[in-house]
């Protein structure tokens, strides 16, 4: 960690504000809901920075803002020193492969009309398609016999592994893990977490993990930010946070989860 802190940050989010229009009627935006309210954080290469908070606190909105899926009201998102909020759509599209998301809902993360091989055909060069597909699938613990399958023919764990393999196929530097194991059963949960730990080591990946599940946070996180109502209450290294939470909300949150 200390060595990673001396490196240049891979992602730097400053004073991020995201809001959504609500009550959209007849084309007139009457109200706006503040989803993220002045969030700032920095992630260093090889690190796993985790945002923890209850559902609806704005965690996923941060991921959507980094990916450019929602409009940022104010603030900057610097990825490898480039401000993503100032990039043209064309330049942002070129940069996109370096930041890959893995979403919670693996059932909807794959195009239901595409075979697994077609998914990789979109990202891999034609002459390397077969060899790299096999390599990617084996790196996430899948055999090549699934390449002719459609997503509905795979189990939940297999789908999430394919999602990971697809993300890896474009050689990302940063993985945005949005509750990646929440809807998986316990045995698959463990397998996917082990896979993430191993991928992080072997591919030197950086993670931004979003979760309300402290089990995965405990296994993966280096630093943790506690989020409530669109704001960070505190940011600390995991061990410090668990031993010495500063905020009452964090104490309650940790207590509730340990009781479960």
């Amino acid at each position: 960690m200390n060595s990673s802190r001396q490196k240049q940050p891979i992602l730097e989010v400053n004073n991020l504000h995201v809001e959504y229009p609500v009550n959209f009627r007849g084309g007139f935006r009457r109200q706006k809901k503040q989803a993220v309210n002045g969030v700032s954080f920095t992630i260093f290469p090889g690190e796993c920075f985790t945002i923890v908070g209850e559902s609806g606190c704005g965690k996923s909105s941060i991921i959507d803002a980094i990916l450019g899926f929602v409009k940022i009201k104010t603030g900057t998102v610097l990825f490898e020193k480039q401000d993503l909020t100032k990039l043209t759509p064309k330049n942002f599209r070129k940069l996109r492969p370096k930041i890959q998301p893995v979403f919670q809902d693996y059932n909807q993360a794959l195009n239901p009309h595409q075979r697994i091989e077609d998914i990789f055909r979109e990202t891999l060069p034609k002459h390397l398609l077969e060899s790299q597909t096999d390599q990617l699938l084996s790196s996430v613990g899948l055999s090549k016999e699934i390449i002719r399958c459609f997503p509905h023919q795979l189990s939940g764990g297999q789908k999430q592994r394919v999602v990971l393999a697809r993300a890896l196929s474009v050689n990302p530097a940063l993985l945005l893990l949005d509750e990646p194991v929440t809807s998986l059963d316990m045995s698959v949960f463990v397998q996917i977490v082990e896979l993430l730990i191993s991928l992080r080591k072997t591919r030197n990946l950086t993670f931004l993990l979003v979760s309300h599940n402290l089990s995965i946070v405990h296994l993966l996180a280096d630093r943790v930010a506690i989020m409530k109502n669109g704001q960070f209450l505190e940011q600390q290294p995991l061990t410090t946070l668990l031993r010495n939470p500063k905020h009452d909300y964090t104490k309650n949150f940790i207590n509730q989860i340990t009781q479960l």
């Binding site: 599209r93 909807q108 993360a109 195009n111 023919q153 795979l154 189990s155 474009v170």
Partner: protein, 276 residues
Amino acid sequence: MKILPQKTQTNQSMTSGCITIGLVFIFLLLGPLLTPINHTSQNLSASLQPPSSSHWMGTDYYGRDVLARLVFGGRITWIIAIASTFMAVNIGTIIGLFSAYQGGWIDLIVMRLVDVMLAFPKLFVVLLIVGLGASSTSLLIWVLALFSWMEIARIVRSEVMSQKNRTYIKSVRALGLRTPRIVFIHILPNVLGPVIVSSVLLISTIILVESSLSFLGLGVQAPSASWGSILNDGRIDPLGTWWLSVPAGLLILTTVIGFNLIGNGLHKQLDLKKIV
């Protein structure tokens, strides 16, 4: 490695629809083998002959062979219906895709335009335009298409709206794919199911509209024929000249029911796939 088997289920609606339409199609395709007589050949001395060995389905006022006219008229009716549907589906799909993917004000304006067009009674407007213009088959195809795309656009738009924010679209956007690829390779195949069902149902609607227009004398013009115009020939004495109106009416009915059954079957089939 567990791979779930894909379910296969029989679909009675689809099967019966395909058989019905298949039979009508064979009739239209092989009809000339049944009667060598040209559908426009007149023989006034054999006017209004009931079915006989020389004219299997009798003759009309001008002594023209009704069977030959049913075959030729059916082909015209089918061509108009399929061509209009094809055009309407293309127009509706492109407008629906564009409107939903752009969103915001563009979507709002396009959809209000659709609402305005849907507010007009289709048959009345088509009747007016065809009545004012010089009636021709190509004009009929265009007018029918231009007043039938709205339902398709609405369906496509609602499907795209639901698809474009799904996780798999977010994922492929994150991969850096270009917008046309996302729209045509990822979104379009996932909205085609309801479009196909609506298209099949639209064919039967257009057959009915075209037959109505031809029945009123505004559709296909003489000496050409369509099922609607043949039906009109038997209008003066429907009981005395039943061979003019009954076969044409039955063919319209059978075709419409057939396409509706296929549409219904496709609907079930596509729902089944979603469950699997």
